[in-house]
Amino acid sequence: MDLFPLFLTLKVSLVSAVFTVTIGLSLAWLAARCDFPGKWILDVIIMQPLVIPPTVLGYYLLVVLGKYGPVGRFLNDVFGITLVFTWKGAVVAAVVASLPLFVKPARAALEGVDRNLENAARLLGKTEWQIFRTITIPLAWRGIVAGAVMAFARATGEFGATLMVAGNIPGLTQTLPIAIYDAVQMGDTTLANTMVAIITMFSMSVLYFVNWLTRGKY
């Protein structure tokens, strides 16, 4: 069996997890702390990728990020970056698809942090950023990790949008889920099962690691 899809999946899911958590934390913080009219619209936009079918989402992304798409052209002209049909495209697809899974619980967790503790830190002369880093995040830890784990799992399993944006190019953009899909389509259930076992083992070790990481209370 070709192991390339496994490594690609590892790469894509890890890189996209980094992006998801970074972007997601900012969004969650914005949503939890700032009050602006129509805030719930932001909520709706972030949640959209959950509601529309991944393939359709992928299609939209392809149109926007593609060679002739507004973003795609900009990225290509200014930075010389091509997203579609590259692993970077798979990362983008994974980030967009998994972002809502992170933002929602992370926001709920941030909102659950006792404001009094943040005030106590302010009184000790800390800046908002220091407080976010040393008080808010550690106290919202549980929810943030829950969100990150889900986002990571989703990114690992992302298939519909990835297939559209990154294409199914064996040895280049064929991730494990796509390979599994192919195998099922071919009726090769044995291969599919093997690969499902591999992806399960992978997600299992990640979950185990996360479990171990968060065994304390904070």
Binding site: Y68, F85, G167, D182, Q185, M186, G187
Partner: protein, 232 residues
């Protein structure tokens, strides 16, 4: 199904053609035709697990044979309804003129989309044609596999690939130029239909097939690029 209802499972390539045929048929009779489109592989898996279909239009007769072997179809009902043709589709905005399959070998054609040859019949044919044309080795690295020919075409349509090999039945869309590929370059893409075992609407199903294979039906099918081979 039953009670004057017919559920037809069909490969998504047939969506336009069958809709028209079914429309005519519903007018002629009082049978309600429900069309369920999907990828052939998926539909086959569903039939294996007891889907309530009466008729199964596959994009590839291999699936019909496979199901037949498992005894899931009414024996002797298999009929080839079309022999598929593949075309070379090129994005019009790319400004490239691709001359035949050999033209795909030029580096100007950055990416080429075909349906996944692992399971899609048109993908297999495309691969065979590329091999026969002697350009497979050059183009293999530049191939993008679509889940099916629709997706392969979408890649071309959105301009993200320059050219693609798709079936003639889907190729007639805005922004895409296509040329038919010689059918000697690939094995026949026989598309077959059969009745599903356990159907409660066998009589209606037969009438529907008769309609499809009748002159009216053939005309519509042909218009959508499904050439029913003579003598079948």
């Amino acid at each position: 199904a039953g009670e004057g209802r017919l559920i037809v499972a069909a490969a998504s390539t047939l969506s336009f053609a069958l809709r028209e045929v079914a429309g005519d048929f519903e007018e002629e009779t009082d049978v309600v035709v429900i069309l369920s489109f999907g990828s052939t592989g998926k539909l086959a898996r569903q039939i294996e697990n007891g889907a309530p279909f009466d008729i199964f239009f596959a994009a590839d007769d291999a699936y019909i044979d496979e199901l037949d072997e498992k005894g899931l179809l009414l024996p002797g009902t298999k009929r080839v309804y079309a022999r598929g043709r593949i075309v070379l589709a090129v994005n019009r905005d790319s400004g490239l003129v691709v001359k035949g399959l050999k033209g795909l070998a030029t580096p100007a054609v950055e990416r080429i989309s075909i349906a996944n040859p692992a399971h899609a019949p048109y993908g297999i044919a495309a691969k065979e044609a590329l091999i026969s044309a002697g350009v497979w080795d050059e183009v293999e690295k530049r191939l993008v596999y679509g889940e099916n020919i629709r997706q392969a075409l979408q890649f071309v349509q959105t301009g993200n690939v320059t050219a693609g090999i798709v079936s003639i039945s889907v190729a007639d869309v805005p922004g895409v130029d296509y040329t038919i590929i010689d059918d000697s370059l690939h094995g026949p893409i026989d598309q077959a239909v059969a009745l599903v075992k356990g159907t409660e609407a066998q009589e209606e199903a037969v009438r529907f097939l008769n309609h499809l294979f009748g002159p009216e039906g053939r005309k519509i099918m042909k218009r959508y690029g499904f050439m029913i081979p003579d003598g079948l």
